[in-house]
Symmetry: C2
Subunit: 310 residues, 2 copies
């Protein structure tokens, strides 16, 4: 079982409008609601792939109830941690041009609630093959919150994947996450370096055992102490990129649970991510495109192997 | 007690953002949530004025639970009718320029649920001095839904105020509502006539006993078989106009419950409405401005009295 932890989950609300014009009134023609947050998307994709997954997440208030109802309806194994605050919403407004996102900050977790989230994670770790930690930390969580969870996962001797950014990411590196998954902009923000290779090596030096960087249309770059690997989709994929990174993490976690190497993980992750862009909703993917793409892609080694290069 | 019926209530969600730009991502800096829908706003204003009010409304799903929780927290007397669907949300995005509104259509009411709403209204009518019917009809409600409720209210021999528009308004006129409250645009839509006096007289001919038209900065126009009355605020009021019409209805209902005439109702309604524009949130008003304004305003009779003029 792959265990995902989503410290700041959301009820994702998607509105369709014929034409979105700010400072006017709109009658929403389509309303779709589902449980969201990066770790929930990862678990949703893994479940759709037939891979057992369970999500640990704090839930509270009426919005938390709505998240729980949807998780149950969708058949997603979940372990909620009750909190006093109301779980946040995100609102995506889709018109024929593009999406407009409104993200609530999330409820404040008090120290006891954070500790309960860690304890709930610990309770499920004996059954877990991989631990996935995804998304922002909620207000009130300790800045080293992900460091605590990485350390916890490593004591169970399983791979720990961390998909976070900013201070939450940097504070977790000394705990030695197995793989971190920044995108290009997160790499630059974390290191100040514009080149993804340079940035990835900097994050290795700070404690990550491997970096899987998602570079949009350029696909994925994996960097660890043995070298670097690349895999790109055959052509630019257009659609809804929300959740594409979560599908990358899902493929990565699935690969790590089977002890796969980069040459197997990268094509699978690029294919699943591209197939997610082709689906209009985050946490879902175009199954036919996924099956077609993953057999047409290969990973290639980048540059010379030198343990002293970084 | 003034009884309000809100067939299509909502959870009103208000987001504050520093600068709203379509097709970009926004971190919401402020989140405010309250029970909404026109009849709920009317009851909220009446309750703040110390006037007993009770709202009858269908509620369902997690969003319905959130509405109920807020009504209880706000001390609003409410009689919910359980429905299978999920109560709708409205989202208002406020930036320094203006508001952008996103209105969900609302859950479909099946015939039994509509009948339950009518039955719940009947149950409270023996204690009611005025019946207020406000807002859109939800999907699934019969087009003569308001006609049914107007007829029901009239059998209890109390004034019935109807604030609706379009087909729901037109279908209710033969049931002879005591006062309808269209705004300028609703008057024109309902009748095809640009002049508010002409439009109001047309609606009287179709069955309304009186028309209280809200004309924005021009204040209020009341027309009945005895003539017409006007009252305007002393100067243009700037602020958030959402809920101003509901405050007009609240003042009207309070006046009708005390058998007040237009000369008393109009200044009170204009003052309360203007004081609502001055408050940032719908269903709330600036109490000091209300008290100041209502003593400075008077209603004036418009035109000659002729029972044959219309």
């Amino acid at each position: 079982m792959i265990l995902t932890v989503t410290p700041n989950p959301a009820l994702d609300v998607t509105y369709t409008v014929p034409c979105f014009r700010p400072h006017t009134s709109h009658r929403v023609t389509g309303v779709a609601t589902q449980a969201g947050g990066k770790g929930v998307n990862v678990a949703r994709v893994l479940t759709a792939l037939g891979r057992p997954a369970r999500c640990v997440l704090p839930l509270g208030g009426p919005t938390g109830d709505a998240v729980r109802t949807e998780l149950t309806a969708a058949g997603l194994d979940h372990a909620p941690v009750p909190i006093a605050g109301d779980t946040r919403r995100t609102v995506a407004v889709i018109d024929p041009t593009d999406a407009t996102m409104l993200n609530e900050p999330g409820p404040v977790l008090d120290p006891a609630e954070w500790d309960a989230l860690v304890a709930e994670t610990r309770r499920h770790l004996p059954q877990a093959a991989v631990l996935v930690l995804s998304g922002s930390l909620p207000p009130g969580a300790p800045v080293d919150g992900y460091a605590q969870l990485v350390t916890l996962g490593r004591t169970f001797d399983i791979p720990v994947v961390l998909d976070a950014d900013g201070p939450a990411l940097l504070a977790a590196l000394p705990a030695r996450p197995t793989v971190i998954k920044p995108n290009a902009s997160e790499l630059t923000t974390a290191t100040g370096l514009p080149d993804p290779h340079d940035a990835a090596r900097t994050l290795l030096r700070r404690g990550a055992e491997a970096v899987l960087a998602s570079l949009g249309a350029d696909g994925l770059l994996a960097v660890d102490t043995h070298g670097a690997w690349r895999c790109a989709p055959p052509a630019a994929v257009t659609g809804n990129p929300t959740g594409a990174g979560d599908s990358t993490v899902a493929a990565l976690a699935a690969g790590l649970s089977g002890n796969a190497g980069w040459s197997a993980i990268l094509p699978d992750a690029v294919a699943l991510s591209a197939a997610t862009v082709l689906h209009p909703r985050a946490g879902h993917f175009d199954d036919a495109a996924y099956r077609r793409l993953r057999h047409s892609l290969t990973a290639s080694r980048v540059g010379a192997v030198s343990p002293f290069a970084w």
